[in-house]
Symmetry: C2
Subunit: 465 residues, 2 copies
């Protein structure tokens, strides 16, 4: 591979061949995902760098793995053997905030939280808030269609993309999507790139639609001796026509881990907890009414207690506790043999009660591992975690079995194998199980149409179809 | 063409060869769009009828023109020579309303307004409200990504589609989209079919996401001696972070036509009017505040008068007046030589002021025609109408020139040739002008991947790329 040819086309210092640096950039946060040996790393400083890299890759038929902040959980950003890693993390400028159009235009490397902060002074908001909000980039969020806690009311990344500038496999550049708030001129190709995990092109510029700053919410927690009753509460509450701005679930084991991780003061000895917020779209009265409805439903569903707070400090602490489930799980894993597999099934709300029961059956079937469960209950998006001793091969294999059984359960209950974490390496065989043969064939035809040499992130999302 | 073969595969009576009926079904509402001579009409009563028709068409390489309620304005549903017209209008059942999931599942022939009515008893709403709301079908709305008056706050059809069942060109059937509220398993292929105007497949079932019933709005009108000041009002108002639930524009000529059509009592002698609604998401206080902000902005932008009403009857009358612009234009056209071309450009809000000025220049350049303008000002989606004497060839040619000049202007101002009416026959050459060569090529590759024989609605949206 004549890397000197590529170096000559790139910004100074963009091509990295230092093996240690390449190793650092060779993986994201996924476990159990193959990490290949990359040939080199391109730290793109410009759109031209991205184009030059893809022209070179096409000319020499070299695989390219596009990368954002590498905070993904599915291995989509992991190196494949002989590839060029292409990170756009340095392209991190906010190019425009347009208050008349209520949009902003950003480079892909902008960190989600940085964008949120920058929008505050304009009274505008970009809602999507994945768990990685403080460290993941907008480009990666778009490439994976990131979700978060706000989705039950405010939708996912896809819902905020007006248009994208993308570089295709051969280095050609184009803008897809609408120039304006409405637009139906041709096929909506931007939506094809959103969530495509680097398999169709590299996103180099993004225009997002914004909404007015979100009003402060009222927060409530409801505690349940039985987890299944939390599921019933979610269903009955949503069936009142509710629009909570957050509706999160923690089971007892998750609450214990969080308490062990930090001074969050969550109640102990409970089966489950719901954390719900309503902002009433700015109306305290509407928020209070909605929380009243929640309280009545929770009581009717055997809640042990329902507690409210309008104090933003209380709200923040509770949300911080919910967000701590990630690092708390890490701490728990480290104390229990190191292994942790985070799942991400999404099921219809009405099937959550059954999901909880069946998860208990899995716990009984796999006593060698520990399974906790937390998630975005308002969406039916569940993140069961399987903890295991990774030093033990048998236990590790059982953990993977349990992880797979959770996905099988998700499919059985009419859901999906991934609500927001993506497919990547981790779930590519499961994607083939979820999609029917006709849709699988469509995926491959479209991939072939846009990346005929198959150089973009090969062997990942579409690798088992 | 062995139609008897096809008849044997279809529901009784589904195949129609009566020439008069075929002629009736051979066109939509577009003007200046070629109408071909269809070979036959299939009035599908079931998914199986659709599949059988497409299998037959593939076997014999016969073009198929999928049709909904044929209320489109771009000729997308017009017959092409030798085609099978395939209407799904008879497949018009609401299959499920799921209050826990806040979704509904419908057949494509369900009329938009009928769905809205059916959802009321569940306290749920499906917002998209194209001008054709009372007569257009959900399938057609999805196939064209229909918009309407609500879009400034509530988005377009695309924003409400959870998943679609589609029959492909070869008769194979599949479901695309997510089973659940969140889902990132594979490429989001449903979004490719939305707005594809029958060029990629036939939509036979649709699951829509719903929201709680919309609260009653406060309505205001602002009157402006100068149209350009209405444009400035829209920009300055939106820049306050406003979320009006409706923000419509009528110019003086449009207001005159509406008054001439019915007893709506719109003021006369004005340059323009804005019709704005705010529902404050259910909070009267929030709505009142937002309308206060609108009033202050309009006053600062030289409004002659701003009038409010909380009375639903007043609101309905004003919205009815706005909705009457279509039939009012028809009446006006009939009295002025019969010709009317309705345009549909969408531009950034900030360019609307310039658009109005440039439209005046077009009026001066084409004195043989009459140009009025109305539209969804909150979106920048403008519907200028060109009225002309269709009995006169020269005038007709000039009218088409003026129509084209409006699209050129839309593109020049950073907008699109179609905000919501679609491409069809009418604008296919203009689509080629709007899209860059790379995006044009992507369209053709995707079309070829999904419809390799090119039998689905040939010569329409993608016909000039």
């Amino acid at each position: 591979m004549p890397l000197e040819e590529l170096a000559a086309e790139l910004s100074a210092g963009a091509l990295v061949t230092d093996r240690d640096v390449i190793t650092t950039y060779s993986k994201d946060w996924a476990l159990f995902s193959h990490v290949g040996r990359a040939a080199a790393l391109v730290r793109a400083a410009s759109v031209e760098d991205v184009q030059a890299t893809l022209r070179f890759a096409t000319a020499h038929r070299i695989p390219v793995v596009p990368q954002g902040a590498r905070t993904g959980l599915s291995g989509a950003a992991n190196a494949v053997d002989g590839c060029l890693l292409l990170t756009v993390a340095r392209m991190n400028r906010i190019l425009e905030v347009n208050t008349v159009e209520q949009t902003c235009t950003v480079q892909p490397g902008v960190i989600n939280q940085d964008l949120k902060e920058a929008l505050k002074q304009h009274g505008l908001a970009y809602p999507p808030d994945p768990g990685s909000v403080a460290i993941s980039s907008i480009g990666g969020n778009v490439a994976t269609n990131a979700g978060g806690l706000c989705c039950v009311k405010y939708g996912v990344t896809r819902d905020y993309v007006r248009n994208l500038t993308v570089v295709l496999a051969d280095g050609q550049i184009t803008r897809v999507g609408r120039p304006t708030q409405k637009g139906v001129a041709g096929l909506e190709l931007s939506q094809l790139f959103i969530g495509s995990e680097g398999t169709l092109g590299v996103i180099v510029e993004i225009t997002l639609e914004l909404i007015p700053a979100l009003p402060d919410p009222i927060t409530a927690i409801a505690l349940f001796p039985e987890a299944a009753d939390a599921a019933s509460t979610v269903c009955d509450f949503m069936a009142t026509g509710a629009r909570p701005s957050m509706l999160e679930y923690l089971d007892g084991p998750s609450m214990d881990m969080i308490n062990d991780y930090g001074d969050f003061g969550l109640p102990t000895g409970m089966g489950a907890m719901l954390l719900v917020q309503s902002n009433g779209d700015g109306s305290l009265e509407a928020a209070t009414q909605e929380m009243g409805a929640f309280s009545r439903v929770a009581d009717a569903c055997n809640a042990a207690e329902v507690v409210f707070s309008e104090d933003p400090a209380d709200s923040e602490l509770l949300v911080a506790a919910r967000r701590a489930v990630g690092p708390a799980g890490e701490k728990f894993a480290n104390a229990h043999g190191g292994g942790e597999l985070i799942d991400d099934v999404c099921i219809p709300r009405a099937r959550m009660r059954e999901f909880f029961t069946r998860l208990d059956e899995l716990r009984a079937a796999y006593p060698q591992v520990i399974i906790s469960n937390a998630g975005h209950a308002g969406d039916g998006n569940m993140h069961p975690c399987v903890f295991f001793d990774e030093r033990d091969e048998t236990t590790t294999a059982l953990a993977q079995e349990a992880f797979d059984a959770i996905m099988a359960l998700g499919l059985e209950l009419g859901g999906t194998i991934t609500g927001e974490h993506g497919v990547g390496y981790l779930k590519k065989e499961w994607l083939a199980r979820e999609l029917d043969p006709v849709t699988r064939a469509m995926h491959l035809k479209i991939k072939d149409a846009l990346d005929p040499l198959g150089i973009l992130n090969p062997g990942k999302m579409l690798g088992a179809l």
